[in-house]
C-alpha cells in the first residue's frame, strides 16, 4: 500500500480460539504494583 503501513499482524479475534490457558504472568507481579498493564505481556501458550 502506498498510503498505509500496517505495523502488526496479530488479530485479537484469532486469540479466542486457543486463548485462556492462564499460563501467562500475573500482571501486577512484574514491576508495577500500583496499576494494571496487560498489553505489554507475552502469551505463553505454546500451542498458539
Amino acid at each position: 500500500m502506498k498510503h498505509i503501513k500496517t505495523i502488526n499482524s496479530q488479530v485479537l479475534k484469532d486469540t479466542l480460539k486457543k486463548g485462556g490457558c492462564g499460563e501467562c504472568q500475573t500482571s501486577c507481579q512484574s514491576a508495577c504494583k500500583t496499576s494494571c498493564t496487560v498489553g505489554n505481556q507475552s502469551c505463553e501458550n505454546k500451542n498458539n
Binding site: 499482524s9 479466542l16 486463548g19 485462556g20 492462564g22 496499576s35 496487560v38 498489553g39 507475552s42
Partner: protein
C-alpha cells in the same frame, strides 16, 4: 472502534477491536473520520482543497481494502463471550508474600504506611510461608508456572525465611510438576554480595526501588533517621543490574506531584546504566500534597511524549533502554480472555500477610472487609473471589468505549475501590495517564518499524 492520533510526527490509527495498528499518511488520516459517514464523492469535495483527488481516491481504496480484510472498523464481538468468561474455572497461580511488615526506610508515599499496612509490625514465619506455598500448589490445578513475589515492607528484613521458602518451593516442583518463578522487591538497604548471588540464582525477577535523580529519591525515600538513601543503595543496584546481564530486573520508581518533570528521573536512571526501568505515578488520596492532580495532566502528557521521543532516538542510536509502561506486545501479546480479565487479583492472585491471612492483592491488605481467608482454612469468603472474577472491561461503564481497554484490561481494582468505594469503576486520572502511555507505546513501535 477506531482511535487515531498524531505523536512525534507519526499518524497512528488503532483499530481497537482487531488490535491492528496502522501508520498512515496525512490524506488517509483525514479520510478515515469521514469514511463511515460519507460517500467517496462527498469526501473528495470535503478534502479537495487540501489533497489531490487522485490521492483522496487512492486513500479511500486502501481504507476500503483494510476494512474488507477485517483490520479496520471492526466490531466489538467480545462482549458476547462475557458469560462464558464469567463461568471460567480459575485457579490460584500467584501469591504476593508479605514477608515483612516492617521497613528500614520511611518513604513518604508508601501505601503500606512504612511497611505496617494499617496494622502491626510483623515478620512472616517459615511455617506460615510454607502453608502458603502448599495452598498455592494445591489450588493451582494444571497450571505449571507459579509466581511468588517476596514483598513487604522490606523483605530482606526477613531474608532467612525467604531462603527457606525458596528451598521449600523448589522441593515441590518435581513431585507436583510445577515451576516457581520467584520475584524479590527490595529497597536495597540490606543488599549484599551473598544476597545478590542468591537472587541471581533463584529469582526470576528482582525489583529495585529507586526514584531517579538523587535529590528526588532522597526527598521521598529517607531512612528512618531522615537521611537520604540514594548513595547507600545505588552502587548495590548497579551491581545487581550488571550481574544479571541487564535483564530480568527493574529499577522501579514512583513519581509524584513534586517531580512532574519525571522524564528526567527516567533518563537519570538510564544514564546511570540501567536498561530495565519502571517509573510510575503515585496513587494516593487527593488530600496529600504530593498527589497527582487533574491539572498536572498536561505536563505529565508532555513528559511522556518527551520520554517516548528520546527513547526512540536512543534505541535508534543503539543505546536504548526499556521503560516498563511503554512496553507493549502487538504481535505476541495476551489473548482476549486475559485482556478481559485483567490482573487476576482476588482469584488468580492473592496477597498473604505475615500471619497468613489472604487478601485480593497487596493493595487491599489491611482493608478488613476484603479479608478472604487464610493459610489454614483456605478461602473462607468465596463471594469476594467471585466478585473479582466477574470484574472485567465490560462490567465498567467507563471502559466500554475506551480505546485502551484491551491494553489495561479495565485498570486496577484497588485504585477503583480507593477512589470510588467499589471495584467496578476506574481511577480517572490514572486512566488519562494510561491512555497517553498506550499512545506513546504504539508510536514507539511504529517509529522502530521504520
Amino acid at each position: 472502534m477506531v482511535h487515531q492520533y498524531k505523536n512525534n510526527g507519526y499518524n497512528i490509527v488503532l483499530d481497537v477491536n482487531s488490535g491492528l495498528v496502522h501508520a498512515v499518511d496525512d490524506v488517509v488520516y483525514d479520510v478515515i473520520p469521514l469514511f463511515e459517514e460519507k460517500q467517496i464523492d462527498e469526501i473528495v469535495n470535503a478534502l479537495e482543497d487540501v489533497y489531490s483527488e487522485k490521492d483522496i481516491r487512492e486513500a479511500y481504496e486502501e481504507i476500503s481494502q483494510l476494512k474488507s480484510d477485517g483490520v479496520l472498523f471492526t466490531k466489538d464481538i467480545y462482549e458476547e463471550y462475557i458469560d462464558k468468561f464469567k463461568e471460567r474455572e480459575t485457579v490460584v497461580k500467584a501469591l504476593c508474600l508479605h514477608i515483612a511488615h516492617d521497613c528500614n526506610l520511611a518513604c513518604k508515599y508508601c501505601f503500606a504506611e512504612e511497611g505496617e499496612y494499617h496494622g502491626r509490625r510483623a515478620l512472616m514465619s517459615f511455617e506460615v510461608g510454607k502453608k502458603a506455598l502448599d495452598f498455592l500448589v494445591k489450588n493451582s490445578g494444571s497450571r505449571k508456572n507459579l509466581e511468588v513475589d517476596f514483598f513487604g515492607g522490606e523483605p530482606l528484613m526477613n531474608f532467612d525465611v525467604v531462603k527457606q521458602l525458596v528451598a521449600y518451593g523448589r522441593s515441590l516442583e518435581e513431585p507436583y510438576h510445577k515451576k516457581f518463578r520467584f520475584t524479590l522487591t527490595t529497597n536495597g538497604v540490606l543488599l549484599n554480595d551473598d544476597i545478590i548471588e542468591f537472587a541471581n540464582k533463584e529469582m526470576g525477577n528482582v525489583v529495585l526501588s529507586v526514584d531517579g535523580r538523587k535529590e528526588i529519591h532522597d526527598m521521598m525515600r529517607p531512612t528512618r533517621n531522615g537521611k537520604g538513601s540514594y548513595d547507600l543503595i545505588m552502587p548495590k543496584f548497579k551491581k545487581v543490574a550488571e550481574s544479571r546481564n541487564q535483564t530480568n530486573y527493574y529499577v522501579r520508581g514512583t513519581f509524584t506531584h513534586n517531580n512532574l518533570d519525571f522524564s528526567k528521573d527516567v533518563l537519570s536512571l538510564a544514564d546511570e546504566g540501567f536498561e530495565q526501568i519502571s517509573v510510575e505515578p503515585v496513587v494516593t488520596a487527593e488530600t496529600e500534597s504530593y498527589a497527582i492532580r487533574k491539572e498536572d495532566l498536561p505536563q505529565i502528557f508532555e513528559e511522556y511524549d518527551k520520554l517516548a521521543a528520546e527513547l526512540v532516538k536512543r534505541k535508534k542510536e543503539g543505546r536504548g533502554f526499556n521503560f516498563f509502561h511503554f512496553m507493549i506486545d502487538l504481535n505476541g501479546g495476551p489473548c482476549v480472555y486475559k485482556r478481559l480479565s485483567g490482573c487476576g487479583s482476588g482469584c488468580e492472585y492473592l496477597a498473604v500477610t505475615p500471619w497468613g491471612d489472604f487478601y485480593p492483592c497487596h493493595q487491599f491488605v489491611g482493608e478488613e472487609k476484603f479479608l478472604m481467608g487464610n493459610v489454614d482454612e483456605g478461602i473462607t469468603k468465596p463471594e469476594i473471589s467471585e466478585m473479582f472474577k466477574n470484574c472485567n472491561v465490560y462490567s465498567k461503564e467507563k471502559c466500554k468505549n475506551c480505546f485502551a481497554k484491551f491494553f489495561c484490561s479495565g485498570g486496577c481494582a484497588a485504585n477503583s475501590y480507593n477512589f470510588h468505594g467499589h471495584i467496578n469503576d476506574t481511577y480517572d486520572i490514572g486512566c488519562e495517564m494510561q491512555k497517553k502511555r498506550v499512545e506513546c507505546a504504539i508510536m514507539i513501535k511504529a517509529a522502530l518499524a521504520q
